[in-house]
């Protein structure tokens, strides 16, 4: 009789595993989620469904809101303000715009590229950007993606970081105010469930990264400071 009970328990456990798989299909069941890399653990389609319903998986939110410590490399060179691949680094009207496109699985806390003082924190835009407009959509007057622009006075001159939302995001937190001094690599804000960060630099700054390269906020050197402290 004991053997029969053990057999039934084993079979019930397996049936529950299969029912979980069927119930969550095509998304991963909780049984296998743990073994998958983040972009497969929470597929994009599933995240977009959550955005519509406003109900998120708790594990995904915990992952999304992560805020790991970052150790800036020694020196004074400019650091990436966000995690993600660089999608463009073109010059327009004397300003180099380094565009970093964040995915749902990237860490979303932004960091200061240089030490300096906050000159302004301004909000722009009334529209939401949906991925495709990443190139220079943020510069349009109207309609323009919702964004916050943090301008820093640095040894290099004025450097700005734009935090831009997507259709999915709709919220930006800035953690610095006008007059604040910021350290190189210090946390300056976060985009909730979005989207794009643009670093504005003087056009003559020598870039150390290429388009397509992935950078890490507060750790990857993106450009030479052009001076020694």
């Amino acid at each position: 009789m004991t053997i029969l009970i053990v057999q039934i328990v084993v079979l019930v456990v397996l049936v529950v595993g299969i029912l979980l798989l069927v119930r969550h299909f095509p998304y991963p069941s909780p049984l296998v989620r743990h073994w998958l890399p983040p972009h497969k653990r929470w597929p994009e389609r599933q995240i977009r469904d959550w955005l519509k319903s406003g109900r998120y998986h708790r594990g995904f939110l915990a992952y999304f809101y992560r805020d790991p410590e970052r150790v800036p490399p020694p020196g004074v060179d400019l650091l990436a303000p966000a995690d993600g691949p660089i999608t463009s680094a073109d010059v327009r009207d004397g300003i180099r715009y380094v565009v970093i496109a964040l995915s749902f699985w990237d860490m979303h806390v932004q960091r200061s590229p240089l030490a300096g003082r906050v000159v302004s924190v301004t909000a722009h835009g009334e529209d939401f950007m949906d991925g495709e407009g990443r190139e220079f959509a943020f510069l349009r007057e109207k309609p323009c993606p919702v964004q916050k622009r943090i301008v820093l006075a640095t040894q290099l001159g004025e450097v700005a970081v734009r935090l831009i939302t997507s259709a999915a995001a709709r919220r930006i937190e800035t953690w610095v105010a006008v007059g604040d001094s910021v350290e190189r690599g210090q946390r300056i804000g976060r985009i909730l469930l979005g989207s794009t960060v643009v670093l504005e630099l003087p056009a003559d700054v020598a870039l150390r990264v290429k388009v397509g390269e992935r950078v890490r906020a507060g750790e990857t050197v993106v450009a030479d400071a052009g001076y020694t402290p």
Binding site: L4, L11, V32, W35
Partner: protein, 67 residues
């Protein structure tokens, strides 16, 4: 095959092994599908082939050791 399905008041080890193997194989197939970029037709063919081999081994094992 008398003891395959039922034996001395519990499930036969043959059918038990077959059910456990099938369930685990199904779960494994899902995991492999998610972890690799293999085409679905190829995955089904591969896993179906593996399942047939597994079932063959279970039945053969039962005949050798359990029957």
């Amino acid at each position: 095959m008398s003891g395959f399905f039922w034996t001395s008041s519990h499930l036969g080890w043959g059918i038990f092994a077959l059910l456990v193997f099938t369930a685990l194989w199904w779960l494994l197939t899902d995991l492999v599908w998610r972890l690799t970029n293999v085409r679905i037709q190829r995955l089904i063919a591969m896993m179906a082939g593996g399942w047939i081999v597994g079932v063959g081994l279970v039945v053969a094992g039962f005949r050798v050791f359990g029957g």
